[in-house]
């Protein structure tokens, strides 16, 4: 094979002394497509941010050779000038600008008088659209007139316009329909034929298998293997992605599972921006008293959106019955949900969990403040007694009950948020990534609490992207993929491989 276009050697990047990636190698030749695979949080995005100088040289160690010479780009602009273009998972378009204006954003052709030369710009944009086999796109229309899939292809046009020699696609099809995905894959193949190199990051292993020549697998920030795709099949990739030992981190306790208390029927949730697209597509399930139901799936599978519908906080369109004790209930807002005995601990603690300027204690009592009022005034003593009880029970480490919550560690913040949502004594508790960004000790305590709640008869729905956690905690596991329910397994003899295979839509492996 020809000289390598890109060689990354021994890339290591630390955050506050924790290695996010540790000694990773990635080599790409001209005309080659490398599939980069790994679980959520394995370090794929970090690696790409190192390459694109989002993390500039000096904040990481290792070497990057570009065309045989050391790459010295200090910011994204300079990497793009060198010919490395990243297309992100989330679209980076200015919706109100025209297609042509978006393509030429930051490099607008100008007339001699210094005005934008729209004629040249539109002509060149139309030419690019023809190359991408989308001649029917009107480059003078605002970008928002086109679907998410078309916009993704317009992003690629933008990359072509920058004379990209290496195209990095980060989950490019997560927002695309099947036919749009087809177009994109065909385009990538054509680019390869023209000698452009490509790094393809995707959870959809079928796509990787189709277009990648080489596959690099990383896991927990370390390099696992780099092998030609021809020698591999998708199951082997899954095994390499998961392949870690389960340690006994989970304080499993027996608990009794009772009758069905909660059910979701035919839940469908539509995207807020691309209103045609279904993020959750006709999902139904039941939840029993004292049962811990894990919900697994890859990022973008629609799990958080499902939970948002059940808790009444989805901002866009959604449909589907929520049933409590066999009776359909109205959940139009989180206030409705909490009042009827459903609580949710949201995924994004900073944005949706904590009220940063208030004390830990006042965060904990936020949802049940009325309980402490006497003649319209909050009884500070009553409230403080409850706060201190919770702080002890949840083992929240804080110097003072009314210290601003933002000054606590992530784990203690999370315990306070959980405490807050337990204050209304819910019968159904939805936990969305309950241990994200939480240290091992706090994780263990949260697991213990989950079992304790199950013992008391609370029905728990736990969304988690950490498969060991799902397997270690759940009584039953739902697997979601691309908005659909892809599997419903009792947690006996279940393996990470099985879950991952189901999530990736390998139907033949789903148990009947």
């Amino acid at each position: 094979m020809a000289e390598a276009l890109l060689e990354m050697h021994g890339i290591t990047k630390e955050f506050n002394g924790v290695k996010a990636i540790d000694g990773i190698d990635l080599i790409v030749h001209p005309g080659e497509c490398v599939g980069l695979c790994g679980e959520n949080g394995a370090g794929k995005s970090t690696l790409m941010k190192v390459l694109s100088a989002v993390y500039p040289p000096g904040t990481w160690s290792g070497t990057i050779l570009w065309d045989g010479e050391e790459l010295r780009a200090r910011n994204i602009r300079e990497t793009e000038e060198a010919g490395i273009v990243i297309i992100h998972q989330e679209l980076m378009m200015v919706p109100h600008l025209s297609v042509a204006e978006n393509i030429f954003l930051g490099s607008e052709p100008t007339t001699r008088a210094g005005f934008v030369d729209y004629d040249t710009m539109n002509a060149r944009a139309a030419e690019l659209m023809k190359q991408l086999k989308m001649p029917d796109i009107n480059v003078a229309l605002p970008v928002m007139a086109y679907s998410g899939g078309k916009q993704q292809l317009i992003e690629i046009a933008k990359a072509l316009n920058k004379n990209a020699r290496l195209l990095i696609l980060d989950e490019p099809t997560s927002a695309l329909t099947a036919s749009e995905t087809r177009t994109l894959l065909d385009l990538v193949k054509e680019f390869k034929a023209r000698g452009m190199a490509c790094v393809y990051i995707s959870h959809k292993l079928d796509e990787v298998a189709e277009i990648a020549d080489t596959v690099t697998v990383i896991r927990d920030g370390t390099h696992v293997a780099t092998r030609p795709m021809a020698e591999l099949d998708t199951n082997e990739i899954i095994t390499m992605m998961v392949g870690r030992e389960m340690k006994n981190l989970f304080p499993r306790e027996d608990h009794e599972i009772g009758e069905v208390v909660f059910a979701a029927k035919n839940v469908t949730v539509w995207d807020t921006t691309n209103t045609e697209r279904k993020l959750v597509d006709d999902v139904s399930f039941e939840l029993r008293r004292g049962e811990i139901l894990g919900v697994a799936g890859l990022v973008g599978a629609g799990r958080t959106e499902l939970a948002s519908h059940l808790f009444g906080c989805w901002k866009g369109d959604s449909r589907g019955a929520v049933v409590l004790d066999g009776r359909e209930i109205r959940v139009k807002s989180p206030a409705d949900a909490v009042a009827q005995g459903i609580s949710m601990v949201p995924e994004d603690r900073k944005r949706h969990g904590i009220v940063p300027l208030m004390g830990v204690g006042h965060n904990i009592t936020l949802s049940v403040l009325k309980r402490f009022t006497r003649r319209g005034l909050i009884d500070a003593e009553d409230e403080m007694a409850a706060i201190q009880g919770e702080i002890r029970r949840m083992r929240i480490k804080t110097a003072q009950p009314l210290l601003p919550i933002a000054s606590l560690s992530g784990g203690n913040q999370q315990k306070a948020v959980v405490a807050k949502m337990l204050m209304p004594n819910p019968r159904v508790l939805i936990l969305d990534e309950p241990t994200r960004g939480v240290d091992v000790g706090a994780k263990y305590e949260i697991y213990k609490l989950i079992f304790e709640l199950a013992k008391q008869g609370v029905a728990v729905l736990m969304i988690s992207s950490e498969l060991p956690e799902v397997l270690g905690i759940s009584d039953r596991v739902l697997v979601m993929g691309e908005g659909r329910l892809r599997g419903d397994f009792p947690n006996t003899g279940l393996t990470q491989e099985k879950i991952l295979a189901a999530a990736l839509g390998k139907q033949e492996q789903v148990a009947a």
Partner: protein, 388 residues
Amino acid sequence: MTLTSRDLRTFLSSYKIVALLIVIAVIWAFFGFMTYDADLGGSQFLTARNFSNLLRQMAITGMLASAMVFVIVAGEIDLSVGSLLGLLGGIAAVLDVLYHWPLAGTIAVVILLGIAFGLAVGWLTAYQGIPSFIVTLGGMLVFRGAVLGLTGGITVAPASEGLKYIGQGYLPGVMGNALAAALFVLLVVLAFKTRAGRQKHALPVSSMTVEVARLVAVGAVILGFVLTLNSYQGVPVPVLILLVILGVFTVIADKTVFGRRIYAVGSNLEATRLSGVNVNLVKMMVFGLMGLMCALAGLTTTARLAAGTPSAGTGAELDAIASCFIGGTSMRGGIGTVIGALVGALIMASLDNGMSMLGVETFWQQIVKGVILVLAVWMDIVSSGNTR
């Protein structure tokens, strides 16, 4: 031991109110010195009469600022309060002067209308999702237009004696003294109750010496306040109303579910919503409270001028908003106190009053007030270490 700028910063950010009081002391000392006139027997600024005037001048801005704090803490803004004040004052004048309504009826109708207008603004903002900046900018024009239509653009006078008392009256000295004594006893009882409560839950309390010193200082302030005002004509009625508002609003902020939720909404709207709080209702109620304060301010304005004028309250929204920011309310919401806003209003009123006394031209007064506003917020940002 040296006092570093960092120590000073920590001190000022934890005792913001002390910093504001120092600013007031400096302003007063400055004007006191500048207006010193040996022929007239001393400083003209630092007299009981001027102190009384100063407080009466700030009363109306203070009423608006008290509720504006909650609006800003909740992460919103209200630009319509000056016009709404004008409209409600105009309605009060029309009912009082032209229809000779009994005072109680006028007050009740004006207050109800104020709350209704406020809730309407709040409903449009909270439930319909129109940014409060837009709703209240529109409201500013609508209310001002309405008052012009209502009064036909002319002054409605003269107001009845009863109405005038609200704006121009004074409390008899004996009653002033009695209220001051009652207030002091109440504060002492509350202080020790809070202290006992905190000790019971092993929360840190300041030492007994500090506590007593604090109470003595508070007592001295109250005593000085009442004695000074009584040596002129007594506590002005609008000032009394403002002090009651200060007390009630401080209790709302610290002791009620509604108050706690206002701060939560302003600090993180989404987290508060996801905790099961009806955040839209909280926001609408805040605007309702703002409308109530516009009603009181409107009544006081009409009473003070003994007439309803179509231009009453023009620009009052900016004074109220500036008072809040000078008094340490955060633009980003979630932080702010009623007492801080009132001290902010006092600073603004002191500048107005002092510069008028010195015969400073109006254009300079505006320039100085503008500079002070920016300076105050800049100091706040520097002292909290939030510079970018």
